[in-house]
Symmetry: C2
Subunit: 346 residues, 2 copies
DNA sequence: TGAATTCGTGAACGCGTGTTTATTAAGAGG
DNA sequence: CCTCTTAATAAACACGCGTTCACGAATTCA
C-alpha cells in the first residue's frame, strides 16, 4: 500500500555513482560521458524513478505550472463557453509541458479574493496566471502585476504604461458590431435595438461603443428606448425584452444582443409574447456559442474564436515566463459574421 | 520585478521568536500561548507571508491537490459534458480546500500514457486522481491502484477484490434504459431500434444490456437489424442512421440512442432523408445534454446528474486521501425520464 | 522547601534535489 | 619522467519548512 519511495540517492547507489551525477544526467548536463549517462538512465528506467517535483522547485527549478483563474459571476458551472476556455488553456499548456491549476473565484469581498489569489501565487509558486471574466482594470490583478507576477488577462485594456509582464487579449468587438449592424441594415432594418452586456467588463463597453459607431456609419439613429441593460447572462436578455414588450408600443424590427446567451433569453421572451423570430423581430447574437447552431431558430451571430485566443494567450504567457518573449504583448482577434436563420429581410 | 522572498526564518526574526514557533503558529499547535501567537500572526499579516508549499510538501505535508485526468477520444475540447465535469470537480475540491491539476490524456500509446500519469503521481504533485472517459478496466489505472495511489474512476466496474483505495461511480443505466423503453412502449411503439455507445466503456455495455432487458420486460423483440454500432459521438449516430435508412426497407418507429450526442446525429441524418422527428421516427436520448432542451425538436431523454456524481466522487476521494473514509466506496446514481418533443404516440 | 511535573521554545535534523566547489584521475606537453 | 591542464565525479551546501528532542522556567504536589 505504500508508494515507492525511491529517490536520487538510491538511484545513485544502485548505479554506483554519486547523487550529483544522477542529477546531472536528469538535467542533461553536457559533461557526463555517454557511458555513465546510459548506466544511470538504465537504473532510473528500471526503478521507475521520477524526481520529486517539490524538491526540485525548492531547489530552484520552475514549477512549470500556471494558474487559471475564472471569476465566477454565478455562471461558471453552467456557462459552456467558460468551460471550453479551460480545456483550451490546459491543452496548449500541456503542449509546452506545463501544468494548469484551475481556480474558481467566487463573489467574495475584494480583500478575500486578493488574499486567495496571492496565496496561490506565493504559496504554490505558480509561474504565472491567466484571468478570465474579471472586471476591467480589476485592482487586485493590477496589484499582482505590480508585485512582479506574469499575468495574462482576457478582456481587459492595456494601461498607458504597460508593465512588461502583462499580456492582454481581446476580440475586435468594434469590427464585430459593425458587421452585425451592417448586415441588419443590408436586410433593410433601420429600427435596431441593443441589449448590452456587463458594462464593468471591457467587452461590454466596447461592444456598445461599436454598436453606436456602426449605427452612425450606416446612417441610423440609436433610439435610447431600445438600448437595454444586460449582463451577458440569458436571464438578462429575457428580462430586457420582457420589459420592452411590456412597456413600449413602438418596437424595433431587429435587436443586437451582446452575446448569444442574451440572445437566447431575448428569443425566449419574444416567444412567450406570442411573437416569432425572425418573422416579427430579428435577433443577432455575439460569440457563436456552442448552442447557437442547434438552437431554434438557429442563431445568426458574430463568431469569435475563444479557443484560438486562449491558445495564443497560453503560449505567450509561458514564453514570457521563460523569458523568451520580452516585448509587451497585446493580442487582438477578429470576428466574423455567421448567417443562420434568426434575421430576416424586411 | 522580484517577488517577495520572505520566509519563515525572516518572520521569526521579525517577531523575535524562533522558526519553530512560527511553524507551530502556522500549523495551529495548541501549546503556543495566545500572546505569542498574536505577535507572530501580526508579522505574518504585515509582510504578506505565505509558507512555501513545495517546502511544506517536502517536509511531509499533503499537497492538497488532486489530479483530474480526462481521457480524450477526440472530443474533449468540443464535448460540453466533459467540460462541465471539470468545473464540478474544481468547485467541490475547492470547498474542501483542495486544488485540481487537470490533465488531458490524448490517444497515445499505452506506455506513453502510463508514463505520463505515473510521472504526475510520483512527482508527488497530487494526492490522488480522478479518471474520466477511460475504457473499462483500463490496465494502467489498475496498475496505479496496485501501486497504492488513491484513485476515483467514473464509468467503471468494481472488481471482485476491490482495493480499499479505489472509488467507482456509475449511473444506474439499467434503470434508465428501462424508463426509456417503457416510455416508448407506453406510446405504442413496438418496433424499437438502438444506436449503441462505445462498447469498450462500461456505460456502453450496461446501456445495451439494459436495453435488451427492458425490451424483454416489455414483451418486445429486439430486431438485430436495428441494433447499430456507435461510439457516443454525434457522427456515429449520423452514420448509423444513414446506413439504416440507406439499406433497410423495414424501419423502426422509434430509436433509443446511447447518449444525446448520438441522438443529435441520428436526427440530423433523419432530417437529411426528408423525414421528420418525431412524426416519422421517434428518438430518445440519454444524459440530458445542455443542448437537448434548445435542440429542434427538443430532445426527450434520460437525465443523468453528472455534476452531482462528480461532487460525490470528489468529496469521497478527498476523504479517502485524508483517511476519513476507509470503507470501499461505490457510487450509483439514478436517472430520470425527461419528456420533451422528440417522441410521439403511435 | 525540595522534587516532580508541565509549559514554552529554541536547536537540530530530515525531506529530495540543484548547483557550486573541491578532489582525483587521466591526458598532454616538455 | 615530471609538471600542467583538463575531464569526471564526489562532497558539501542551500532551498524552506515540519517535527522531534532537549532544556530551562514556571508551576504543582508533597
Amino acid at each position: 500500500m505504500k508508494k515507492s519511495e525511491i529517490n536520487s540517492s538510491e538511484i545513485a547507489r544502485l548505479a554506483g555513482v554519486s547523487r550529483s551525477t544522477v542529477s546531472r544526467v536528469i538535467n542533461n548536463y553536457s559533461n557526463v560521458p555517454a557511458e555513465t549517462r546510459d548506466k544511470v538512465l538504465k537504473v532510473i528506467e528500471k526503478y521507475n524513478y521520477f524526481p520529486n517535483a517539490s524538491a526540485q522547485v525548492l531547489a530552484g527549478k520552475r514549477a512549470r505550472t500556471i494558474g487559471l483563474f475564472l471569476i465566477d459571476q454565478g455562471n461558471v458551472s453552467s456557462d459552456i463557453l467558460t468551460n471550453m476556455l479551460i480545456v483550451s488553456v490546459i491543452e496548449h499548456a500541456s503542449v509546452l509541458d506545463y501544468y494548469v491549476l484551475t481556480h474558481i473565484i467566487r463573489n467574495a469581498k475584494d480583500t478575500e479574493v486578493i488574499r486567495n489569489v496571492r496565496e496561490i501565487f506565493y504559496q504554490r509558486r505558480i509561474d504565472g496566471g491567466i484571468f478570465i471574466g474579471a472586471a476591467n482594470r480589476e485592482p487586485f490583478i493590477e496589484q499582482l502585476i505590480d508585485e512582479g507576477f506574469v499575468v495574462g488577462v482576457v478582456d481587459q485594456e492595456l494601461p498607458d504604461h504597460p508593465e512588461p509582464n502583462r499580456i492582454v487579449s481581446n476580440f475586435n468587438n468594434d469590427s464585430g458590431m459593425k458587421q452585425a449592424v451592417a448586415y441588419l441594415a443590408g436586410l433593410g432594418h433601420s429600427r435596431i435595438g441593443v441589449v448590452n452586456g456587463d458594462m464593468n467588463r471591457l467587452s461590454g463597453q466596447t461592444k456598445y461603443e461599436g454598436f453606436k459607431t456602426a449605427m452612425r456609419m450606416c446612417g441610423l439613429q440609436v433610439n435610447p428606448k431600445w438600448v437595454m441593460d444586460g449582463d451577458f447572462h440569458e436571464t438578462s436578455g429575457y428580462n430586457a425584452i420582457q420589459t420592452l414588450l411590456g412597456i413600449e408600443s413602438e418596437l424595433p424590427t431587429a435587436i443586437v444582443a451582446a452575446n448569444d446567451s442574451v440572445a437566447f433569453g431575448a428569443i425566449r421572451a419574444i416567444k412567450e409574447h406570442g411573437l416569432l423570430v425572425p418573422d416579427d423581430i430579428s435577433i443577432i447574437g455575439f460569440d457563436d456559442h456552442a448552442l447557437s447552431e442547434k438552437h431554434h431558430p438557429p442563431l445568426t451571430t458574430i463568431r469569435v474564436d475563444f479557443s484560438a485566443m486562449l491558445k495564443r494567450m497560453t503560449t505567450y504567457l509561458i514564453e514570457k515566463i521563460e523569458q523568451k518573449t520580452l516585448t509587451v504583448k497585446e493580442i487582438t482577434l477578429d470576428c466574423s459574421l455567421v448567417v443562420r436563420e434568426s434575421c430576416r429581410r424586411i
